[in-house]
C-alpha cells in the first residue's frame, strides 16, 4: 500500500492548483435570475478556458487534444477542481462517458472528427439509452434504425436525456435487428441533433427544474459511418459506457460532498437552539460524526477503486458499490441536514430567510433522483449479486 503521489503527480497537482487559483471563476450556482441556459453558457466558456490552457481531457491521448496523462492525474484534476470550488465543465457526458467510449470503440476517423470538439465544448453531447418502456431493462429498446443505402433511418422515443435541451450530438442506442435476441440486435450510433426529424421536449422534475429532456426521432437519416463499434454489437459498447459512468464520478463527488458537510458543520456552529449552539447537541454531534464516517469510507472505496482500475485498466462490476454508496449516503445526509436546519431547511430558492438560497431544500428533493439515475440501486444490487457474487440471474 502506498497512497503517496509521485513527484510528477505532485508537480501536476501544484501547477493545476496555481492555475485554478489564478483563473477559476466564482461558483456558477442556481439562484438569481439566470436561466439554466444562461448558466450553461457560462460553463461552456469555462470549459473553453480550461481547454485552451491544456486541462481538458487529462487522461485522453494527445493525438486527439488530450494531455496523455494517467487515470491518477485525471482523479487529481477532478479533486483539484472541486477543492478550488471551480465550476464543472459544460460537456459532462461527452467528457465522462461518450468520449472514453469513442476512444475505446471508435475508428481513427471518428476519433479525429469527434474528440477535439468534445474537449473544446464546441459540440455538447447527450446520451439516448432509456425509453418509456426500457428503463432498468435497457436492452428492451424499441427505437429502431432501418438501413437505407449508406444511411440508417431512425424512429423512436428516448427519455431522461441529461443535456438533451442543449446537445449538438446524441450517443443513441437503437434496435437494428428486430429478429435477434434482446441484447444482440442493438447498435450504438452517433446522431447529429440538428438532423431533420429530431424533436426535444423538456421534462420537469420534482425539484421544479428541467435538467432532463425527452427526444423524439421521426425518420431521421444518420450516415452508416456514424455507427460506433459494429452494427448489432451496440450492447457491448453501451456496457462500456455504463461502467465508465460508475468509475469516473466518484472523485469529484467525494470533495463536493465534503464541502456540503463542512458547510453543514458551519451552520450547526452558527445556529442556536435550546439555549446552545446546535453543534453542542450530543445527538447532532453523533449524526454529524456518522455522516463523516460514511463520507470517509466512500472516499476510501473510491481511492481503492481508482487504484484497481489503474492497475487492471478496466472498471469492474464492483464499481456498483460506489454508485449505491454515494447515492444512498447523499439521501441520508440531506435528511440529517433537514433535521439540523429545522423549518429553515424547507425554504426554497428566492424565499426570504432561506439558508444558502434554498440549496438545502433543493438538495433534499434532488437526491431522490440519485438512487434512480445512472442505474437504480436495485440494478446495482442485481449486478453485485450476479456478476460479483455469482448468484443466479434473477430475471
Amino acid at each position: 500500500m502506498d497512497l503517496t503521489l509521485s513527484a510528477e503527480q505532485i508537480a501536476f497537482r501544484d501547477e493545476l492548483r496555481q492555475w485554478l487559483a489564478a483563473n477559476a471563476p466564482a461558483p456558477i450556482t442556481r439562484g438569481g435570475n439566470e436561466s439554466l441556459a444562461q448558466r450553461f453558457e457560462k460553463l461552456r466558456g469555462w470549459q473553453r478556458q480550461l481547454h485552451d490552457a491544456g486541462w481538458a481531457g487529462v487522461a485522453w491521448p494527445k493525438a486527439y487534444g488530450g494531455r496523455g496523462a494517467s487515470l491518477i492525474e485525471q482523479v487529481i484534476f477532478l479533486e483539484e477542481m472541486a477543492r478550488a470550488q471551480a465550476p464543472p465543465m459544460a460537456n459532462t457526458l461527452g467528457l465522462g462517458l461518450i468520449g472514453p467510449t469513442i476512444i475505446h470503440f471508435g475508428t481513427e476517423e471518428q476519433k479525429r472528427r469527434f474528440l477535439p470538439k468534445i474537449l473544446s465544448a464546441e459540440e455538447i453531447w447527450c446520451q439516448g439509452f432509456s425509453e418509456p418502456n426500457a428503463g432498468s431493462d435497457v436492452a428492451s429498446i424499441r427505437s429502431e434504425a432501418r438501413l437505407d443505402g449508406d444511411h440508417f433511418i431512425v424512429n423512436g422515443h428516448k427519455v431522461w436525456n441529461s443535456y438533451g435541451w442543449v446537445a449538438d450530438w446524441c450517443a443513441l442506442v437503437v434496435r437494428t435487428d428486430p429478429a435477434a435476441a434482446k441484447h444482440k440486435g442493438l447498435t450504438y450510433i452517433l446522431v447529429d441533433m440538428k438532423s431533420p426529424g429530431v424533436e426535444v421536449r423538456p421534462i420537469r422534475q420534482i425539484s421544479g427544474e428541467s435538467e432532463f429532456a425527452e427526444l423524439y426521432f421521426k425518420d431521421v437519416r444518420v450516415p452508416v459511418a456514424n455507427v460506433l463499434g459494429k452494427v448489432n454489437q451496440g450492447w457491448e459498447v453501451a456496457l462500456g459506457t455504463l461502467m465508465h459512468e460508475r468509475a469516473t464520478l466518484g472523485a469529484s463527488i467525494t470533495i463536493l460532498y465534503r464541502r456540503s458537510f463542512d458547510r453543514l458543520v458551519e451552520l450547526t456552529r452558527a445556529v442556536r437552539r435550546n439555549g446552545r449552539a446546535v453543534c453542542e447537541d450530543p445527538i447532532v454531534r453523533q449524526k454529524l460524526a456518522q455522516a463523516y464516517t460514511e463520507l470517509e469510507v466512500f472516499r476510501l472505496n473510491q481511492m481503492r477503486a481508482v487504484s484497481r482500475v489503474s492497475s487492471t485498466g478496466v472498471p469492474g462490476p464492483e464499481g456498483s458499490i460506489l454508485k449505491i454508496f454515494w447515492s444512498e449516503f447523499n439521501q441520508r445526509f440531506q435528511q440529517t441536514a433537514q433535521e439540523i436546519l429545522g423549518p429553515y431547511g424547507m425554504l426554497e430558492e428566492g424565499s426570504p430567510h432561506a439558508i444558502d438560497d434554498g440549496a438545502w431544500s433543493y438538495g433534499f428533493l434532488r437526491t431522490r433522483g440519485n438512487t434512480i439515475e445512472a442505474g437504480t440501486s436495485e440494478i446495482q444490487r442485481n449486478i453485485i449479486g450476479h456478476f460479483v457474487l455469482g448468484l443466479p440471474k434473477s430475471y
Binding site: E296, I321, L389
Partner: protein, 361 residues
C-alpha cells in the same frame, strides 16, 4: 498510488489463511470454545511459530519487525477463522504496552500469555475515568471486561498513583488478585472481572510514558480488532452466498430471488467498505499520519455497524437453519456483537470524531 496489499503482504495473508484452514477449522473453534477458558495452548504456539505473536514488534525486542499493514492482514485472517482464546489479548492488547525484551521475548515465542485490564465498572474507554489506585508497589481496585485473564501469566493494569497514570504488571499468582469469569455472548473470547486488594505490582511505566504506551496500545488493539471484524464479516458473506446458491425453495436456488440477492449485495458492500477503512487506518498508523486516530475511529464505527448488519442478514438468508446452534453464523454474530462494544462503542468513537471534525480540536 496503490491501495492494495503488496505481493509480499498478499503472500503473508494467503499463507495465514491456508494455515488457519488447516489448524483452526470451525470444528476446532467449536471444540475449543467448549473448554473452560476457550483457549488452546497448542494452537497458540503454532501461531507463534508462524511469527504472528511478534509480527509488529521490532526485531531487537524479539519480534518480526513488520508494520501495521502486515498486522492487520494477519488479524483479518484470524477473524475470518474466528480464532478463539488469548492470542488477541496477548498480542494486540498487552504486548503493545511493553517495550522490555525480557517481557516481550516469551510473548513473541508463544511461551507466555498476557492481557490488559483497563476499563472499570462504568465501562468508559476514556483513560481519564480509570481510578484503580497504585500505592507503594501495590494495586487496589477493580477492572471489568478483561479478556482472557484466566489464561494470562500476567495482567497489565492501568492505574493511578496519587493522580499520576501508570501501567503496572501483576503476576497471575499475586496475593490479593481475584479473577472472576463473566459469561459473555462471544463464546470464543472469555471476559473477566479482575479485583486487586493491596496486590503487589511491578511498575512498567508512569506519567507521560504510560500515557504514550496506552495510546499506542489502544490504537494497535483497535486496528487488530477491526481487521478481525473485516475477516469475520467476509467469512459470513461467503457462508451465506454459498447457502443461497445451494438452498432451493419453489424449485429455485433462493439466491435467484432479488429479496435474497439484495441482502447479499448489501453484505458485500459493507464487507468491502470495511476493508477499505481498515487498511487505510493501518496505513495511517504505519506512517504515523495526523489523521491516524480519526481513521481508526472511522474504521471502528463502520466495522461495528457492518459486522452486526452482516450477521443480521446472514442469519435471515439462512432462514430457520440460521437460527440453529449447529449453523456457524451465530458464532460470528456473537463475536460481532462483543467487538462492537470492545475498545469503545460507536457512541464513544463518534464523539471522538465529533471533537475532530465538528469542534476541530
Amino acid at each position: 498510488m496503490h491501495f492494495e496489499l503488496s505481493e509480499t503482504q498478499q503472500l503473508l495473508a494467503k499463507t495465514a489463511r491456508q494455515f488457519l484452514t488447516n489448524e483452526c477449522p470451525i470444528a476446532e473453534v467449536r471444540r475449543i470454545m467448549e473448554t473452560p477458558t476457550a483457549h488452546d495452548a497448542a494452537l497458540h504456539r503454532k501461531m507463534a511459530d508462524q511469527g504472528w505473536a511478534g509480527i509488529a514488534i521490532p526485531e531487537e525486542q524479539g519480534g518480526m519487525g513488520l508494520g501495521m499493514i502486515e498486522l492487520a492482514a494477519t488479524f483479518e485472517q484470524m477473524g475470518r477463522a474466528l480464532v478463539p482464546g488469548a492470542f488477541f489479548a496477548t498480542v494486540a492488547l498487552a504486548a503493545p504496552l511493553l517495550d522490555d525484551p525480557a517481557h516481550l521475548g516469551p510473548i513473541c515465542e508463544g511461551m507466555q500469555l498476557a492481557t490488559a485490564a483497563l476499563i472499570e465498572a462504568d465501562a468508559d474507554w476514556d483513560p481519564a475515568s480509570w481510578s484503580t489506585a497504585a500505592s507503594n508497589g501495590t494495586l487496589t481496585g477493580a477492572k471489568m471486561f478483561v479478556p482472557d485473564a484466566a489464561e494470562a501469566a500476567f495482567i497489565l493494569v492501568a492505574a493511578r498513583d496519587h493522580g499520576v497514570p501508570g501501567i503496572y504488571r501483576v503476576a497471575k499468582d499475586a496475593p490479593g488478585l481475584t479473577v472472576t469469569a463473566l459469561k459473555s455472548l462471544d463464546l470464543t473470547r472469555r471476559l473477566y472481572e479482575v479485583r486487586f486488594d493491596n496486590t503487589p505490582a511491578e511498575t512498567i511505566a508512569t506519567g507521560g510514558a504510560a500515557e504514550q504506551a496506552l495510546k499506542k496500545a489502544l490504537r494497535i488493539a483497535t486496528l487488530a480488532l477491526t481487521a478481525e471484524m473485516a475477516g469475520g464479516m467476509a467469512r459470513v458473506l461467503d457462508i451465506t452466498v454459498e447457502y443461497a446458491k445451494a438452498r432451493k425453495q419453489f424449485d429455485t436456488p433462493i439466491g435467484k430471488f432479488q429479496a435474497v440477492q439484495h441482502m447479499c449485495a448489501d453484505m458485500y458492500l459493507w464487507s468491502e467498505s470495511t476493508k477499505a477503512a481498515v487498511y487505510y487506518a493501518a496505513y495511517a498508523l504505519d506512517k504515523d499520519l495526523p489523521e491516524a486516530a480519526s481513521a481508526l475511529s472511522v474504521a471502528k464505527v463502520y466495522a461495528a455497524d457492518a459486522y452486526r448488519e452482516i450477521g443480521n442478514r446472514g442469519i435471515q438468508v439462512h432462514g430457520g437453519m440460521g437460527f440453529t446452534w449447529e449453523n456457524d453464523v451465530h458464532l460470528y454474530y456473537r463475536r460481532a456483537k462483543v467487538s462492537e462494544t470492545m475498545l469503545g462503542d460507536n457512541v464513544y468513537h463518534r464523539e471522538l470524531l465529533a471533537r475532530a471534525v465538528v469542534d476541530r480540536l
